[in-house]
């Protein structure tokens, strides 16, 4: 399906990441935002409110992040596409309802503009400390899709992509941006509506009385209906059967929850996207996402100048994790270097998937500027000298 022309600001703009995110949401057909102001995600709410009258969108500032996500889930069931924007502390509060979103298989988009944590941390400084939280933060078993943009243009593109993924797989999708990407201003090209692909909601078309809200179709995704059309359906956050009625036993738990994982896991190859640069001949590959991947590209150039063959694997989709690609690369390369603005999260996944075939070096950007390439370079230089395979994550201290 093509996007509706309504409200799409086709053309070239100079936008911050947060603003680009809102434009992406509007282009994707999002007409509902509920949120609670928090640095550094406020501009998403602001921009959405400014644009709301034009596209007749609904905006509500709720009393906290808990209710913001609850209201969003409610609104989605009325047929709207919805988004909420927050940062670490807000994401922590949303955890319970991410679980509800997963259990009710409600498509929605959650933007997390990461800042330095834990707790209040430093509100206006970039961080990437919520990556594992996005995957594991709510109780119980679930799979989630998380995208990580590295520029305002990607904020725009990924927001549309996030909506499409969420509608296709009926699941909450997280956009794990960071303060750096959210606040830099760059050129953002918004294409004409007809070039924007939109995933329509998977609506149920059969007879009204036969509708089962969690009956999976041939693609393994249950079709939805909107409230108010006489389907009289029931949904619950309790473990349930196809009809949405709670059944609390082992069998139903298996029947209900296992497919929540499968419905993502069986499509990982369709979902996962990454960008590779010069990995064909690389001895060292920098695995990165978000803002540090910009630094990685700079570092490659520098390193190649000094004769070290370095490549880059930039993860557009962080969750599900591109296990296969890492495992393949691990067999070819000597080492992975993972720069992150935290104290080691995704690097654990890289270590896991390299099965001891490549050394894994962690470079923490929690204590330095994003555009600092010196540490990255020195890590590359040191690991290239490393003779043997080392177990465990290596951190070179400067």
């Amino acid at each position: 399906m093509k996007a509706s022309t309504k409200g799409i600001l086709t053309g070239t703009h100079n936008l911050s990441g947060n603003e680009a995110c809102v434009e992406g949401a509007i282009a994707a057909g999002c007409r509902f935002l509920s949120g609670y102001p928090i640095q550094p995600a406020i501009e998403i709410m602001q921009r959405f409110l400014e644009r709301a009258p034009e596209v007749e969108a609904t905006y509500v500032q709720m009393e906290d992040e808990i209710s913001a996500l609850a209201a969003l889930l409610g609104a989605v069931w009325t047929g709207k596409k919805g988004i909420t924007a927050t940062s670490g502390p807000g994401l922590s509060l949303m955890m319970e309802h991410i679980g509800l979103g997963v259990m009710l298989e409600t498509p929605c988009v959650i933007v997390d503009v990461q800042r330095v944590g834990p707790s209040i941390g430093i509100p206006n400084s970039p961080g990437q400390g919520d990556m594992m939280q996005a995957r594991w933060g709510s109780h119980g078993d679930y799979e989630i899709i998380a995208l990580s943009p590295s520029s305002p243009q990607e904020m725009f593109d990924f927001t549309i992509k996030a909506f499409n993924l969420s509608e296709r797989y009926r699941t909450p999708v997280a956009i794990m941006a960071d303060e750096y990407v959210a606040h830099i201003r760059e050129k953002v090209v918004i294409p004409p509506a007809k070039e924007i692909k939109i995933e329509p909601r998977n609506y149920y078309k059969g007879p009204k009385d036969k509708y089962l809200p969690f009956k999976r179709d041939k693609n393994f995704i249950p079709p939805m209906v909107d409230i108010g059309n006489g389907y009289k359906f029931h949904v619950t956050g309790l473990t349930h059967d196809d009809q949405g009625y709670p059944i609390m036993n082992e069998e139903c738990q298996e029947y209900n929850v296992h497919p929540l994982m499968w419905k993502i896991r069986r499509y990982v190859d369709d979902i996962i996207e990454f960008q590779e640069t010069k990995t064909e001949d690389a001895e060292v590959v920098i695995v990165s996402y978000g803002a540090p991947s910009r630094t990685a590209l700079k570092a490659i150039k520098q390193a190649r100048k000094s004769g070290i063959k370095v490549g880059s694997l930039k993860l557009d989709t962080v969750w599900p994790f591109p296990e296969k690609r890492i495992t393949e690369l691990a067999k070819k390369v000597k080492a992975f270097v993972v720069p992150e603005m935290n104290y080691g999260q995704i690097v654990l996944e890289v270590e896991r998937c390299s099965y001891g075939n490549a050394n894994v070096v962690f470079v923490s950007y929690a204590e330095k500027e994003v555009d600092n390439i010196d540490d990255l370079l020195s890590a590359i230089k040191q690991v290239i000298k490393e003779k043997e395979a080392r177990k465990g994550i290596i951190e070179y201290h400067t």
């Binding site: 609670y36 102001p37 928090i38 640095q39 406020i42 501009e43 709410m45 602001q46 409110l49 400014e50 905006y59 509500v60 500032q61 009393e63 906290d64 992040e65 502390p89 707790s119 209040i120 509100p123 206006n124």
Partner: protein, 259 residues
């Protein structure tokens, strides 16, 4: 914030309470130097949880005098506010109201641009212009507060007196302080400091006014004063009384005799 802190310092002095007994859990950051000057223990807690945190402080050590400063106008922490009042937890709430709610009309842009570096708690709020604000006093009273007062930040003396009075009062006390924030009186095109002056001038003191009638509307004068001052057993008093009744000698009152 400064006029409020000044009044707080004055209030502490006037009340005769030893500052080291006072703990301030707050969701508004204080200047560290101010804390040293005041001589109190200060906890900058996360948004909305100052009252809940204070409840723990008080029950952990009943000798403390706990004064939560809340800036979020009961948005995210509204629940703790009403429940604190219901329990009559021995807390003095300083509720800094900077009018983040506004009535419709007047302004061209619905929300203020966020250009300056701000922390979450130095509140910028895009509270949309069509929401009715809480009447904090009425709400506090309806959930059981024993002391409520409202002053603008310029009523320094009155505010200090109220604080002194409330510091010596047992139970859930609420002092609402009006501080200029985003433009509320949309017809007045004034800078913040002048706006404060405007609040001051546009207010009228009506001690003992019924809480139901002290709603702040753009068209009328702001009613300030002390509205409620009543007695009700605090949580700890009630706890000690009830448990002594049912447990008798087996029970040691929490926090000693004085609660």
């Amino acid at each position: 914030m400064n006029p409020i802190i000044t009044a707080f310092a004055k209030g502490i002095k006037k009340s005769g309470v030893k500052p080291s007994r006072i703990s301030v859990p707050s969701d508004i950051p204080f200047e560290p130097e101010v804390v040293k000057h005041l001589g109190v223990d200060f906890f900058h807690t996360i948004r909305g949880r100052a009252i809940a945190f204070g409840t723990g402080l008080k029950l952990g050590n009943p000798d403390l005098i706990v004064v939560p400063f809340i800036g979020d106008m009961m948005t995210i922490g509204g629940n703790h506010f009403v429940h604190g009042g219901r329990r009559n937890m021995d807390l003095l709430i300083i509720c800094v109201n900077n009018f983040v709610y506004r009535e419709i009309g007047g302004k061209s842009a619905p929300i203020q641009k966020c250009e300056k570096e701000q922390t979450t708690t130095q509140k910028f709020s895009p509270y949309s212009t069509f929401e009715k604000p809480f009447n904090a006093t009425h709400l506090a009273n309806s959930c059981g507060a024993v002391y409520t007062a409202r002053w603008t930040a310029l009523h320094t003396d009155e505010l200090a007196n109220s604080i002194a009075e409330a510091l010596n009062k047992r139970g859930f006390s609420v002092i609402e302080v009006l501080l200029p924030g985003p433009n509320y009186y949309t017809s007045i095109k004034e800078t913040d400091s002048n706006l404060l002056n405007f609040y001051y001038k546009n207010s009228v003191i009506k001690n003992g006014e019924a809480p139901r009638f002290v709603t702040i509307t753009p068209k009328e004068k702001i009613i300030v004063g002390k509205f409620i001052d009543k007695e009700r057993p605090t949580f700890i008093e009630q706890y000690n009384a009830q448990l002594s009744k049912t447990l008798g000698d087996k029970f040691t009152p929490h926090g000693g005799k004085n609660g």
